[in-house]
Structure formats: C-alpha cells, structure tokens
Subunit: 451 residues, 2 copies
C-alpha cells in the first residue's frame, strides 16, 4: 500500500523573513501579488508583531480585505486601523456584504462613513439587515446575495434569466423559490436545472422540504446542521418565513474552525484568540488573569496542607506522597470532564441521560480507583515498608477518584446551565476540587491512622 | 438589537429512552423512519451501550449504512457486526463507493464478499482504487463519481449530455475536463454552464488553474485547502496527473471535525474515540494507560521531594508551599504549549520562525515569572512573616516559569519531529518537567538558604 508523504509546500514565511532582513521590501509586493489571502494571513501571523505593519503596507490593496478576514482577531485589530480611507474602500469593493459587516467594527468612523457612502441604496439596506443581528447568529453570518425565483415559471425561463444575469454568487448550489411577498417556498438546485427538461415548471422540480435557519439561530447549530445534512448553502428566514439571505458552507466551515479553536484555547485559559508572535507585554497580560485564578486555587490547596503541619512534621514522607493522590484525581477527573464536555457539545449528553452518564462515570471512577489504589499501595509498601501508610494512600486514592468522577460530570453540566462556557472554567474548578480533596483526605486519613 | 435564543430542538433521546423503558419497541421504528442518519447516530451514542443492539435492530435497513458512517469508531465497531449479510447489502446499496470503503474494515469476511459480489465490474475497480490508498489521504477519501468532459465540445452538447444522464452526484459544483488519456486539464463550473452562451466551447470557459490533490496528500492538508480556498469539490490526481476521483466538502468537513476532536481528546490522553456511555470496564481500560503514565510521573516527583525529607522536617511549611511553584509552572507551560501546538497545526510556527517564537515565549515567561514571583512572595511574607522564605519561593517561581516557557516551545516541536502526535504526549511531558523542576528548585533553594 502506498504511504502518505508530506508534500513540499512553498515556504513563503522564510521568503518574507529573509526579504525583511535584507531590506528587500519591494520583493514582498511581487510575492504577495501571487498569493491567496489565506496564505498572506498565515505569513502575517508568523512574523513578529513589530514587523507586521511594514509587511502589511506591501499587501496589494485588492487583497487586503480578504486577508483581514483570514487573520486572527488580535492581528486584525492591529492592522485594520493602519489602512487609510482609500485603502479601506478598495478592500471593501472586493468583499461580500456579510464580510464587510464583519470588518466594520475594526474601522475608524471616517472609514465606515466612506464605505457606507460607496454602497448603493440596495446594498446599504442589505448591510443594515446583516448588522441588525448578532454576528454569531444566522442573521449576522448570512450573505445577502441569494438568487430568487417564482414557482410558476418554466426552467427554460430560469435558464434564460441566468444567462442574461451572468455569473452566479460563490457557492450557489440552489436558487430560492419565493412568493410575491418574498416568503420562502422551497429551493431549486442548480444541478436539477441542468439535468431537467426545460419545459417543466419550477413548482414541479423544486424541493419544498428544505433546511432553513431562522435569523436568530446560534452559529453552533448552523455549523452542526451543515455537517449533518452535508449542505452547501441554506436559506435564512425571519419569523414570518420571509427570505432574508443565505448561509454558505464557507461560513459554516469558519464557524467550525472557530468553535474548535475556542475549545482548545479555552481549556488553557485563553478567552480570546492569541497570536503566536504577539508583543511580549500583551501576551503576558492575556495570560495573567488565568495564572491569577490558578494562584488562588494553589494557595487554597496550600492552606489545606498547612492544616496538617503537625502530621507532616511527624511523618515527613507524607509530603512526598500527597501530590500523587492529588494528581491522579486531577487526571482522572479531566478525562471524565473531556468526555462530558464533548458529549454536551455533540448533543449526546442531555438532561435525558445525564443521570446514566453520572452512574457510568462513578462506576468507571470506582473501578479505576480500586485498580490504581492497589498499584499505588503496592509501590508505597515496597518503597516505605509501611502497611498502614500504603493503606492510607490507597484509601485516599479511591475516595479522590470517586470525587473526580462526580465533579467531572457535574461541573460542566452545572456551569453550562449557569451560562458559563464549559471548556474555560471546568478544568480549573475540577482540579481545585481534586487537589483540595486529595490533600485533605490523604492527610486527614494519615492523621487518624498513622499518628 | 435582537438577542440569540436557543431554539427548541425535538428531544429524540428522551423519546427513545422512554420507549425503551416502556418496552414500546415498535414505536422506535416509526420514529427512526423520519430521522436523518446523523440524528439516529446521536440517539445511539446517547443511550447505554447495553441497550444499543436492541435499538439498532429497529433502525430501518436503508438508513443503517448512513447511520454507521456518523457513529464514533467504537460504537460503529460494536454495531456493524450485528448486521446479517442481507442487511449489509441493503445498507451498501445506499452508499457511495468511498463510504463503502470506510465501512469494509468493520464487516465480517462473508459480508465483505457479499458486498463485493453485489458491485458491477466498474464499481469494483473503483472500490479497489480507493482501498489502495491509506484512508487518511486524498486517495482514501475520494469519491469516484466525478463527471468528466472533453475540452473541444460545446456547452450545448454538455447540457444535452447532462439532461440525458439525469441527476448529478451530490456536491457537484464542477465537472472535470480531461484529455483522452484521462489526464486532468481543468474544471468547468456547473454555474458557468448555466450562465454562459451554449455555443461556446468547454475550452473557452473552463478554468485551467485549479486546486487538485495528489492521491497521497494527507487529509489535514486537504481540510486546510478546502477552508482556505472555499472549495466545494476538487480533483484527485495520480503522479502523472490522471484524474482518479474527487474530494467533496462534506468529506473535508468530516476531517476537520475529526482533527479538532482528536486534539481535544488527545490532550486528555485518549488515543481513540471514546463514547460517552461505553461499557464501564472498556472505559476503565481505555483510561488506564494514561493514568499509568501519570502515575509514573507522579512517583518521579514524589521521589524528588523525598530527597529533601530532612529539609521539610525542619521547615514543614515548605510542604504546603511547594505545590504552588509546581502548579504555576504547569499552568504557564500549558499556555505556551497550547499556542505553539496551534501554531504548528495552522502553519504559523515553522522552522523559519521557531527561534523567534522561543525568544518571545521566554520573555513572556520572564515577565510573568517576575510578576507572579512578587505576588507569591508577598502573600507568603504576609502569611508566614519570613522574608527568606518569601525570597526562596519567588526565586523558584522565576526559574520554574522560565523552564515552563522553554519546554512549552521545545516539547511540541521536538516530539513532532520524532513523529509523535503533539497534543497527546506534550502535556504530560511538560507537567512532569515543571513538577520535577518546581519541587527540586524550591526545596533545593530552601535547603541552601533556610537551613
């Protein structure tokens, strides 16, 4: 069987860094003219923050809009304000209305005024429509370039209309059928149009059962629907079923990437996109809150330990062994937590089966607790030749792994209900509990049994 | 501005669990007949493993193939073998060749033989083509249903051909133009076909600059290209540029989801998909390896602490304070690690700028080290009224956060070069280092200065 191989990708980052070091700025403009905005964005993310403005100045005006859309939030916020009004207008001309709506918050008031003035009445109304919905809902994400039809015309007429109209918007796999009040009736796939008898009427070949999104559908549900139903585009409608616009698969893919990244970053305590070569002080500041929260929990654990100073002073080896109990609890708990957070996101954990998931995880915690309690007890017995000490650490392990399972299920469910983002806060709450319980139970049992 | 709202989704999981409890099995068949395979898969994932075979028996035969594709690996491996040969054949009839290739590994030898016998010669050759490539490459992912054209015919002829052919494969946004040796020449968008003058020839309107994937392109790069270039479909070619098949956006979306999930699960030590209601013993076993690895690192840290038993017996408060140094190092290191792993995955961290990223993270580590060393020192001073102790913990913090930054950058880069999956192993290696260094430096400094 053939083996996968890493393909040689052109190394634009090295080229740009070398050009910067050599002061060969003009070669940047030549290079960028051939690149896709996504590639230019990648280069900008990969060079030090201090050098980005200089490189940005060499990105061709007509690619700047697309590049901004591909940048992470913080790099975008740094670079967008550097564009003068002419540059903003040139960039906006290349973008869809929904993309312009995404960029407006980063622009100066003057630039916004210029962009608005450059749009015709219809596009200004469309932009207003997009801006009137939160940007993480169907209304905020939608494109306003849907092609619409009436149901009583023949495909022949549709074909003639499309030829006269010329080019269709990107990712158009269907046209939307509406009544004269612009109410959504169904969709006509462009491929149906290609393969059907032109004498048929739209009403005869359109699909009336279609996935549509009310304007306030949260973006997470939109991405899930695109994945589950393999959509390329879908209509966005208001509460009276009027067609407002359409969502395309590229928007859904961006949402998926954003959500996946958010979970990953949130589990390390980042609440916003963090760029890999951000200025040092900004990075330090971004991380400070999280380290502060962790410091608080670490001092809580330290305080619990300090309650047992007398015990530790009599049996010093307890100090060496106590982190084992805490860390095994933390690791087992994080495993449960990860499974539950994923289940909540996918919809396989709901209030209908939360109790069953809890029972299962408690049983897994009990099994793992026994197994690892025996393992740890045995190692401690061989190391310290103390049966009682081995029994104390084994007992503490069983109790802490049980707590870990309990918290691993309950913490994400409870904080999710409180409206807090599970990946961000769950880990730190869980490990605080497993640390505190681990130290307390182990040192407590030791005080009772060994002293 | 309107506010997002959670939309009421029908709660199929509750319905199924209630039907199960009531023994109303027949109502399951009625319910499932109306559901999408993705919804059925979600229900199966959300019920206890022991009850899945019973529910599976009520999934309509024609939906079983699609449902299997949507299930997580472990649930799929449980349920696929329960189908008899007739059921397997019924399921296979509803699937594309590339999807059949995905399911074959789960089937019994008899079932595989039946499926192969049911295909005509052309489809058997197509299946062989897909199976001859690793399943995480373009060749393994591709559909073999591409519609091809020659460049010298008119669009009129293409339109007549398509009408005679009838329905186009799902996600067909372009037809592929090939020469008489089946070599890829370019693509013709179906929308171009709709909007162009039928008298034009394919050669006049086709796009010759197209994104194509060599058969051994790794799936991660395919997903990135679909995201960057907003593709709906793209050609797969062999080393001589012969057209082999096509990748569609639904495959790319599945890869994205898989990769995102993999990173998330791997960071908690899961090497395979874990289902939320798996049997207890299987879950315990899946988690055992990871807990074993962590136990080993915990004992390493315990051993380091035990070297300083004399010191701790003299200044017992050290035992309470030492976890603070270790855990702040671990948290700071995980933050650096997360940024670097993300950068490696996105391509914003490469050998071209790794040194700059390292310098930046060391500076961030130094700044955070100073700031938090002062904070911790101050709290310890107020708590224990001991200037030397405060100085010792502050010094240990600065050193450990520096180490954390160093390891946060180096560990994922080095283990990535060794061919190990960064998210899986990086976290445990990093926290082992920050624990060991944290305990050693803190207790070592204390032994030198306080005793």
């Amino acid at each position: 069987m053939a083996q996968p191989q890493e393909l040689e990708k052109p190394d634009y980052l090295t080229e740009v860094l070398t050009a910067l070091d050599d002061g060969a700025d003009e070669s940047l403009r030549v290079l960028f003219a051939d690149l896709h905005p996504a590639e230019i964005a990648n280069v900008l993310e990969g060079i030090p923050a201090s050098k980005r403005p200089k490189v940005w100045a060499h990105v061709p005006a007509e690619l700047k809009g697309g590049t901004l859309l591909e940048l992470s939030d913080s790099v975008r916020a740094d670079l967008a304000p550097l564009m003068d009004e002419a540059a903003v207008l040139a960039a906006a001309r290349e973008l869809d209305i929904d993309d312009i709506a995404d960029l407006l918050p980063e622009l100066s008031d003057e630039a916004i005024a210029e962009v608005l003035a450059s749009l015709d009445k219809q596009n200004r109304q469309r932009l207003d429509a997009v801006l009137s919905y939160p940007d993480d809902t169907a209304g905020g994400l939608m494109n306003v370039d849907a092609v619409t039809l009436r149901e009583n015309i023949t495909l022949e007429v549709v074909l003639r209309y499309l030829r006269r109209r010329g080019e269709l918007p990107e990712n158009t796999d269907k046209l939307f059928v509406v009544d004269r009040h612009d109410r959504f009736l169904g969709e006509l796939r462009t491929n149906t149009l290609l393969t059907s008898d032109p004498q048929l009427r739209v009403a005869q070949v359109m699909e009336r059962e279609a996935v549509t999104f009310p304007a306030l559908t949260p973006q997470r549900e939109i991405a899930a629907a695109f994945e589950d139903y393999d959509l390329v585009s879908a209509a966005v409608v208001d509460e009276d079923n009027h067609l407002l616009g359409r969502i395309t698969v590229d928007d859904a893919v961006d949402v998926m990437r954003e959500e996946a990244e958010h979970s990953l970053m949130a589990s390390a305590g980042f609440t916003e996109q963090e760029d890999v070569l951000a200025p040092v002080l900004r990075s330090s500041r971004h991380r400070a809150v999280w380290l502060g929260v962790n410091l608080f929990t670490a001092f809580t654990a330290a305080w619990v330990i300090s309650l047992f100073e007398t015990t530790i002073s009599k049996v010093v080896i307890l100090a060496a062994l106590m982190p084992i109990v805490a860390s095994m609890g933390g690791n087992a708990g994080i495993q449960t937590l990860t499974i539950v957070i994923r289940g909540l996101a996918l919809g396989t954990v709901t209030s209908a089966n939360a109790r069953r998931v809890l029972v299962k995880e408690l049983l897994v915690g009990a099994v793992n607790g026994m197994v690892w309690a025996c393992a740890v007890g045995l190692v401690v017995l061989l190391w310290q030749h103390d049966v009682l000490l081995a029994a104390v650490i084994a007992g503490a392990m069983v109790i802490n792994l049980g707590f870990a399972a309990l918290m691993g299920v309950l913490v994400p469910i409870v904080i999710g209900r409180l409206g807090i983002d599970p990946p961000l806060a769950s880990g730190v709450i869980l490990t605080t509990v497993t640390d505190v319980v681990g130290f307390f139970v182990f040192l407590g049992l030791a005080s009772l049994i060994l002293i």
